[in-house]
């Protein structure tokens, strides 16, 4: 009974929207750069996903708190400053506690700033909603991003190195597909992934031509 009632609350709808209906990567195709560049190893994908989730939640909440005080003319620059502050925090945290992951991600941690999802949520959602819902929305979008990233990373890591989180899963006779660790592998896996998601949800892209 509880579950049925949960279905109609605003929080649940926002959560479902971010995780499946409007999944930032599969449906809206946002934030692809980092999604492809760091998804060749599962551990990198998890670190990146959690970093992005944190940045979305924190920056959306901050934008939401100050939404009445930010003049709309300079709002973009203000969002940029807020977002980059949190990204610097994530970057320093990774450098201090996970130096190997920080090295593997390299400049891509800094590029969370230009990840369109973060900016998109601040602009489309946080400016109109109270803090409570922006946190749910940030979490939903961040997790929607993370699980796609991890799925892509699992496929790529298994094919490219025969491992998941550095544990051997493929038999010794497995020949590594080196191409999957490089850029083309990411493009192919994500392209096919989008195809599958669209077929499953029957959410096709309307072509205007």
């Amino acid at each position: 009974m509880n579950f049925i009632r949960l279905k109609y609350t605003k929080g649940f709808n926002i959560l479902r929207d971010g995780l499946s209906q409007n999944n930032p990567i599969a449906i809206a195709v946002l934030g692809i750069c980092s999604a492809l560049a760091v998804s060749n190893k599962v551990e990198n994908a998890i670190a990146m996903g959690l970093g992005v989730t944190f940045v979305i939640m924190a920056s959306s909440a901050t934008v939401s708190i100050f939404r009445r005080f930010i003049p709309s003319k300079v709002r973009m620059v203000t969002y940029m400053v807020i977002i980059s502050t949190f990204v610097i925090a994530v970057n320093m945290f990774l450098q201090a506690y996970f130096p190997t992951i920080s090295k593997a991600l390299g400049a891509y941690v800094g590029l969370i700033i230009t990840n369109c999802i973060v900016m998109g949520r601040a602009e489309a959602f946080a400016t109109k909603n109270p803090v409570k819902y922006t946190l749910v929305d940030g979490f939903a979008n961040g997790m929607g991003y993370t699980y796609v990233l991890v799925l892509v990373a699992v496929i790529r890591e298994v094919l490219a190195f025969g491992t998941i989180l550095n544990y051997q899963v493929m038999p010794d006779t497995w020949t590594n597909w080196v191409v999957m660790a490089m850029a083309p592998g990411g493009f192919f896996v994500l392209g096919i992934f989008i195809w599958i998601i669209r077929e499953l949800t029957k959410n096709y892209e309307v072509t205007t031509e």
Binding site: T114, C116, M182, A183
Partner: protein, 194 residues
């Protein structure tokens, strides 16, 4: 001089910023439906990337001198946003022809990761000023090449080919990019970026 040319060639071909570092994907996918728009966006990127890298280099030296390099992200992004804003106003006032050519693409560039990435890469690779100029211009030209190639293929495909419904639009763009990227791997070892 030869070293600078090498960095330039390398950042267009075997270290192409779009096809090997996978950067600037959002606009690459979104604006590559026609060759005309792709060219406009590509030119705007060449312009902005080169100018912001030239401005960011002395600013980074200043940060290094004062020991506040951890703030580089914040400072770079503000520089980029300000430069784009300034360029927009400057072009509108003094070179209206150029402004009309890529006016609508300029504001979009602030969130194009290529711009920020080029600034972060010159920091990571410890380039000198001349190397930074050569690298940023080369990377931007590389991005231009990638978006025009992709747009050319997509434009032809929209007329001729029968793409599965679920793959149409963005899905097939990724497959094309994958094949393009495979082709660019063929340039590996041509020139060194360091």
């Amino acid at each position: 001089m030869g070293h600078l040319v090498e960095i330039f060639i390398s950042s267009i071909l075997n270290n192409n910023i779009a096809l090997t570092f996978i950067l600037g994907m959002c606009p690459l996918i979104a604006i590559s439906t026609t060759v005309k728009n792709a060219k406009g966006m590509g030119l705007a990127v060449i312009f902005v990337v080169t100018i912001t890298a030239i401005i960011n280099y002395p600013i980074y030296s200043l940060l290094k001198a004062t020991g506040t390099t951890q703030l580089n992200l914040l400072v770079f992004i503000i520089t980029i946003a300000a430069t784009v804003q300034f360029l927009e106003m400057f072009l509108e006032k003094f070179i209206p022809k150029m402004y009309n050519a890529f006016g609508i693409f300029l504001p979009l560039i602030t969130v194009n990761c290529v711009v920020l990435a080029v600034s972060l890469f010159f920091v990571n690779r410890e380039y000198t000023f001349a190397e930074t100029v050569s690298f940023s211009f080369g990377s931007a030209v590389g991005w231009f090449v990638a978006i025009v190639l992709l747009a050319g293929i997509r434009e032809k495909m929209a007329k001729k080919s029968d793409v599965p419904k679920g793959l149409a639009g963005k899905g097939i763009a990724f497959i094309i990019l994958g094949i393009l990227s495979l082709a660019f791997i063929g340039f590996t070892g041509l020139a060194s970026i360091q």
